[in-house]
């Protein structure tokens, strides 16, 4: 799961009277991007799923009207870009209405999907409603291994979905979460980008929260194989750039001794709305106790973003303790990730243990320096399904058939 990086400025022709760009850090800080988790239901069961261990049930999900209202409020607050994600957002029968509401409010939408259950007709309706781009997850370049990691047959669906997206003229990004079971297939994964007509491939080394933290022993790669992978990316990046394919490598923070500038700072650039309307600075933050996260059912987004304790708590640098408080990098990495600090130390206001200056750094150091685990460990525990497959909406069933025929 990735987020928008801070906006960059484009150089202006000199006849312009320069205006200051509304960059984060200027007051009042406004969010640029929204991660809308429309449902936690998903046909796949990836062992590193970014959804929380406590999955929201279908009956708790926001209604169409509630999403439409939330998107209008988000736009008024400054949001210009939204990832429509899940779980699998295609499980929402009202996805077209949600896309239309976002687009109508001036929000650029990107669908983040597993690619299972998307037919030509529905994609056409989504594009007509204003969908601007699609990000498709891929678990492995080898179909059988992909299906093993995903917990169901899905590779051929993904390949077919990629072709439909190209046919519809929408930009396509591939999104691969990397771990010890697919890191060695990096070259083949990169080959999928040109083969499937992608404009972009994001290689995101697993971030260890929630399901991935539970399955960390099965997922954590060795330092040596990670170094080989990083070299592969360096080698292939220029070649793919010539084909206008962007390669994004999300660094694994456990290995480098550097805390990542998580979310560009707490409550600085983006926020997440979960399926039941809970509003969080990031999708993993649900695990932090006492956060008392507000919901769109009880408060408006303006108040939640600017005033709620959930969002002001770790905003800026005033909350920091040593060693962050007097560190030169505090405005660059914001002390790292609060969710990781909590997950590993039990204290969300501690320095992220990924940082080499953290007094708890040994917690990650010991793991990555440990002798590699035996050659073929398990994949880890698949994430639980959020609801039964029978709950798939009739339209999806029909689309699935249509897709089968087209195939």
């Amino acid at each position: 799961m990735n987020t928008l990086s801070p906006p960059s400025g484009a150089c202006d022709p000199a006849m312009a009277s320069p205006r200051s760009p509304g960059s984060p850090g200027t007051s009042p800080v406004r969010p640029w991007a929204l991660l809308a988790e429309l449902t936690h239901g998903c046909p796949l069961r990836c062992p590193y799923c970014s959804n929380p261990l406590e999955l929201a049930t279908k009956s708790a999900e926001l209604t169409t009207a509630e999403w439409e209202d939330a998107l209008r409020q988000a736009a008024d607050l400054g949001v210009v870009s939204a990832h429509l994600s899940g779980g699998e957002p295609l499980l929402r029968p009202d996805l077209t209405e949600i896309v239309a509401a976002a687009d109508g409010a001036g929000i650029h939408t990107q669908l983040v999907t597993s690619g299972v259950g998307l037919g030509r007709a529905r994609l056409g309706r989504l594009a007509d409603a204003g969908l601007r781009s699609v990000q498709l997850s891929v678990q492995h370049a080898d179909p059988a291994t992909n299906d093993l990691i995903a917990g169901r047959r899905s590779f051929t669906d993904k390949e077919r979905t990629a072709a439909l997206i190209r046919e519809a003229g929408l930009p396509l990004g591939l999104n691969v979460v990397l771990h010890r079971h697919n890191l060695d297939a990096l070259d083949a994964l990169l080959d999928l980008a040109p083969a499937w007509g992608a404009d972009r491939i994001e290689l995101a080394n697993t971030q260890f929260y929630g399901w991935a933290l539970r399955n960390r022993a099965a997922l954590l790669p060795s330092r040596e194989r990670l170094a080989v992978a990083a070299r592969t990316v360096r080698r292939r990046r220029a070649e793919l750039a010539e084909q206008r394919i962007e390669v994004v490598w999300v660094v694994p923070d456990y290995f480098e001794g550097n805390a990542k500038p998580c979310m560009g700072g707490w409550g600085a650039i983006s926020f997440t709305i979960t399926p039941d309307g809970t509003v969080l600075p990031c999708p993993a933050a649900a695990a932090i106790p006492g956060l008392d996260a507000p919901t769109v059912r009880d408060h408006d987004l303006e108040w939640i973003w600017h005033r709620s304790r959930t969002f002001t708590r770790y905003r800026g640098t005033a909350w920091m303790r040593e060693p962050c408080r007097s560190c030169d990098l505090r405005e660059k990495d914001f002390g790292g990730c609060r969710c990781q600090a909590f997950a590993l130390t039990g204290d969300a206001s501690a320095t992220d243990p990924a940082c080499r200056f953290s007094p708890d750094h040994h917690l990650v150091r010991d793991l990555v320096d440990a002798p590699p685990a035996p050659a073929s460990p398990t994949l880890g525990e698949p994430r639980r399904p959020a609801r039964r497959a029978a709950a798939v909406a009739p339209e999806e069933a029909e689309e699935a058939e249509e897709a089968e025929e087209a195939h």
Binding site: N2, L4, S5, P7, S8, G9, A10, C11, D12, P13, A14, M15, A16, S17, P18, R19, P21, G22, S23, R30, W32, A33, A75, D76, L77, G78, V80, S81, G106, H108, Q110, R132, S133, Q135, G169, P171, G173, D199, R200, R244, V248
Partner: protein, 86 residues
């Protein structure tokens, strides 16, 4: 390189006025670019029909005395190098 070029935004790039911040933006998948000054007005003229000299002439008419003949082709070249103009 600009001869006969009729610049137009790449299909994945959307030019939008941000009413909340009062500024023009380019919206791309995974990326927001804040356009400073009149950059947005220049790009609005890139409709795939006007050639660069037409764009320069139009801007010169709108902004008499501004160094558009030098600045605008260089700006368009930079935006093309980013892959945002075709």
């Amino acid at each position: 390189m600009t001869a006969r070029w009729r610049p137009v935004l790449a299909p994945a790039v959307h030019l939008r006025y941000d009413r909340v911040r009062g500024t023009d933006l380019l919206l791309l998948p995974e990326r927001v670019v804040v356009l400073k000054g009149s950059a947005g007005d220049v790009l609005r003229l890139c409709n795939g029909e006007r050639e660069v000299p037409d764009i320069v002439a139009e801007l010169a008419r709108r902004h008499p005395g501004a160094p558009v003949a030098d600045e605008v082709p260089a700006f368009l070249g930079r935006i093309r190098a980013e892959g945002w103009l075709r």
